[in-house]
């Protein structure tokens, strides 16, 4: 015979264990059946972090353009991140994220060998890759992480694939060699001219269009303001343009509607109807205002994080700043 003890005591105990430190994710995860090992991590740039996560159920079925939702610990936000790379045999996926708020800083505090509380996916409809002939894939900032597998998929489908990537300065560049390996042409744009062309990705794109280069499809991913201007550039030429949206999400399965976006006058859910949409039909102003809806709360969360941060407790050298 087994007896179940008093639950409220257990919860109190768990509360004590969890006590708001980074180490907690390891503690809690060990008591749960579901855990996702952080196989490896590295700082890609000063702002961006790369995670390799053990998630065989995700790796087994995922395709370019899909995303996962991860949670650092039991008190964490559910963070949607597009899958950058994966390996079916080894059972891992990688994601790259930017440290922008408390939740992503907290995530970045995790060390190699730690556990993520949750990782669910693949979510969303994969990017529709056909042999359209000539494709230009544009990645802005962190969007480079997503542009990479999508461009590779286009190339593998037989397209002539040019890639344009844009960042503020060369310190923020990543994946350059990786893209160069398969891309027919790689154009780098920096705001300050520290690498490649000085200017925006749209300058490069417009130049290519105006030079009479044959382009059948443009795929863009990055800050919404960039995608909005890519759409503006291609619209007069009636050039098919797909944008991969990164919206606020909770469940990622169509249950909450936080990610809704107006496309061609209709409400769509980025999580289940997207994340890819016709860039010419997206209401960009609405998309941008919805993304900035929690500015004040983000500030408050950041202050709380900085006050309570315990940092890494695993005593591994070289993994943490």
């Amino acid at each position: 015979m087994m007896y179940i003890g008093n639950y409220s005591n257990k919860e109190e105990k768990l509360e004590k264990i969890t006590h708001n430190c980074t180490y907690l994710s390891r503690k809690i995860s060990e008591s749960e059946s579901n855990m996702f090992t952080l196989i490896d991590r590295k700082d890609v740039t000063a702002e961006s972090v790369w995670f390799k996560i053990e998630a065989p159920d995700v790796a087994r079925v995922c395709k370019a353009g899909q995303f996962v939702i991860i949670r650092a610990n039991d008190k964490g936000e559910r963070i949607p991140l597009t899958i950058a790379d994966w390996d079916v045999n080894e059972g891992w996926v990688t994601v790259i994220f930017q440290k922008v708020g408390a939740s992503t800083y907290e995530l970045a505090d995790l060390c190699k060998g730690d556990y993520l509380q949750d990782c669910v996916g693949p979510l969303g409809i994969p990017t529709y890759v056909e042999n359209a002939g000539n494709t230009v894939v544009i990645g802005g900032g962190l969007g480079i992480a997503i542009a990479t597998p999508v461009a590779r998929a286009y190339k593998q489908a037989g397209n002539h694939t040019d890639v344009i990537i844009g960042v503020r300065n060369k310190e923020l560049l990543f994946n350059v060699e990786e893209i160069r390996e398969f891309a027919d042409e790689l154009y780098i744009c920096t705001d300050d001219g520290s690498e490649g062309r000085q200017g925006f990705v749209t300058d490069q794109l417009l130049e290519m269009i105006e030079s009479g280069q044959q382009i059948d499809t443009v795929f863009c991913v990055g800050p919404p303001i960039m995608m909005k201007f890519v759409a503006k550039v291609t619209e007069p030429f009636n050039l098919k343009t797909i944008a991969s949206l990164n919206t606020i999400m909770l469940d990622g399965t169509g249950m909450c509607g936080a990610c809704r976006v107006t496309v061609g006058g209709e409400t769509k859910f980025a999580c289940v109807d997207g994340p890819d949409f016709d860039a010419h039909l997206v209401e960009w102003e609405e998309t941008m205002s919805r993304l900035s809806g929690y500015k004040e709360e983000e500030k408050e969360a950041m202050e709380h994080y900085q006050k309570h941060r315990k940092g890494c407790q695993c005593n591994k050298e070289g993994e943490q700043k």
Partner: protein, 478 residues
């Protein structure tokens, strides 16, 4: 000990109400509103039961809890036995004791209710389940493993009930849940002050102790399809719920700070946004919050908004109070908490400021006309009655559609034009062999207990099918 024959106690006409937190206190916290009976109160209320021979109350219960018999055990103060008896039929008694609409089910059939007030069956069920939880209950002895396996899609009320019953019949059950916590609507939808999450967790832990395995963060339809599950399991039960929120087709519906009730409640309940920033998911707090709709979910949203500091939490509903789909008790609690009701009012537009944030809802006034096809008086707009209701947050609580994931990814599953999976009512069988469904995914949005009833019916038939049993031989779970 043999039961002593006592003189029948004096007939008490009214049910014993549970003590509650004062409205002025409770709107400042998320603790549960009613405190529940103590032992003496439970025995007192139990003694009102007439112990009818034909047990009409049981016929009012979708899962056929042996109500008369458990109440008799309460009279004898055999609380743990009473709990064990309930659990033979109902795997989540602490939940149903709190959220069932007893007034239209068991208590509606209570003989006492014909002349007086019915026995407070829900309150007693809740007491017994809470008592068992606090005093340590025995795990029932499990039958020998049958070696059969069943996959359940979705850890909501239907799936959990189906899983519990199948486990008690000796089958190996695995539940797949897309979210990071099991419980479905019990966890993400119903607020802490109505159903404490610790209680849900306890009831689910009980299922784990009887051998049910729960795999979280697993989306059937993406990670594996129903067809793939059929390769691994002897049967599949789909209880994926009605999780797709409806929005109104009016301008401004996608402005910042317009929430679906699902999103608002998920932020607060599942992700504990009310403890932000300790918990990292934010939820907007506003002085004036408008809730569209008047069902239980609308009441939950309005009462949650109040607890998050809203000075005015306003329910806007196009019909009158009489037609409110919410339970009377919920409306009553909302009333006590100063939730404002604007009946016969319907929004036609949400208006935003220059940053795209909500600043008002434009509404039309309605009057009641002739009854419509639902038998309720049809609301008719009054021309020229446009007016603005200023607010910072709008919550849309006008219902949910069935979750489309399983129908979309299971091509040969028959689906109705409303998106529900077509099932045989008395077995839960779908058009696909070895696939069963129940709960909101089969009926459209309904109640927790109806979903549990469907899970139970399906469990019986799954047992029959995978064991190759004919109708007469069916063994009840015990």
């Amino acid at each position: 000990m043999t039961a002593q024959r006592k003189p029948r106690p004096q007939l008490i006409r009214t049910k014993l109400s549970m003590p509650c937190q004062e409205p002025s206190d409770r709107i400042q916290n998320f603790d549960e509103v009613p405190y529940g009976y103590n032992e003496a109160e439970a025995v007192f209320e139990a003694q009102r039961c007439l112990t009818c021979k034909n047990q009409p109350c049981v016929s009012g219960c979708p899962v056929e809890v042996p109500i008369r018999d458990f109440i008799s055990l309460v009279k004898e103060r055999n609380f743990l036995e009473a709990a064990a008896l309930i659990k033979t039929k109902n795997s989540l008694p602490a939940v149903t004791g709190r959220v069932c609409p007893q007034e239209s089910q068991c208590e509606a059939k209570c003989v006492m209710g014909r002349r007086h007030q019915p026995v407070a069956i829900g309150n007693l069920e809740r007491f017994v389940a809470d008592y068992a939880r606090e005093h340590g209950e025995e795990i029932p002895e499990l039958p020998k493993s049958t070696g059969k396996t069943v996959a359940i899609v979705g850890a909501g009320p239907a799936g959990l009930t189906c899983a519990g019953d199948l486990a008690l019949m000796g089958h190996k059950v695995t539940i797949y849940e897309a979210l990071h916590s099991p419980g479905g609507v019990l966890i993400y939808g119903i607020p802490e002050f109505r159903l404490p999450k610790g209680i849900v967790k306890y009831e689910i832990d009980f299922l784990k102790k009887i051998g049910v395995e729960i795999k979280l963060n697993f989306l059937v339809g993406s990670n594996k399809t129903v067809d793939e599950l059929l390769d691994e399991f002897d049967a599949v039960f789909v209880g994926s719920g009605a999780g797709a929120p409806r929005f109104l087709n009016i301008p401004g519906i996608n402005l910042v700070n317009v929430y679906s009730a699902n999103e608002y409640l998920t932020r607060v309940n599942l992700l504990k946004g009310y403890k932000f920033p300790e918990y990292k998911t934010p939820v907007k707090r506003g002085k004036i919050v408008v809730i569209i709709g008047a069902g239980n979910v609308a009441m939950d949203s309005a009462r949650t908004a109040k607890r998050l500091g809203a000075e005015h939490s306003i329910i806007v509903y196009r019909r009158s109070k009489k037609e409110c789909p919410a339970r009377q008790e919920e409306v009553h609690h909302a009333d006590e908490e100063d939730i404002e009701f604007r009946f016969l009012t319907n929004p036609i537009r949400v208006i935003g400021d220059e940053q795209g944030k909500v600043k008002a809802v434009e509404c039309l006034q309605y009057e009641l006309g002739e009854p419509d096809e639902t038998g309720r008086a049809k609301p008719i707009p009054i021309p020229g009655s446009e007016h603005l209701v200023e607010c910072e947050i709008v919550i849309i609580a006008v219902g949910n559609d069935p979750n489309p994931t399983i129908p979309r990814t299971t091509p040969d599953l028959e689906v109705s034009r409303w998106g529900t999976i077509v099932t045989e009512r008395n077995t839960g069988k779908t058009s696909k062999d070895r696939v069963y469904a129940g709960g909101d995914i089969a009926t459209g949005a309904a109640t927790v207990i109806a979903a549990m009833g469907a899970g139970k019916i399906a469990a019986k038939d799954i047992h029959k099918q995978i064991m190759g049993i004919e109708d007469e031989e069916i063994v009840e779970p015990s």
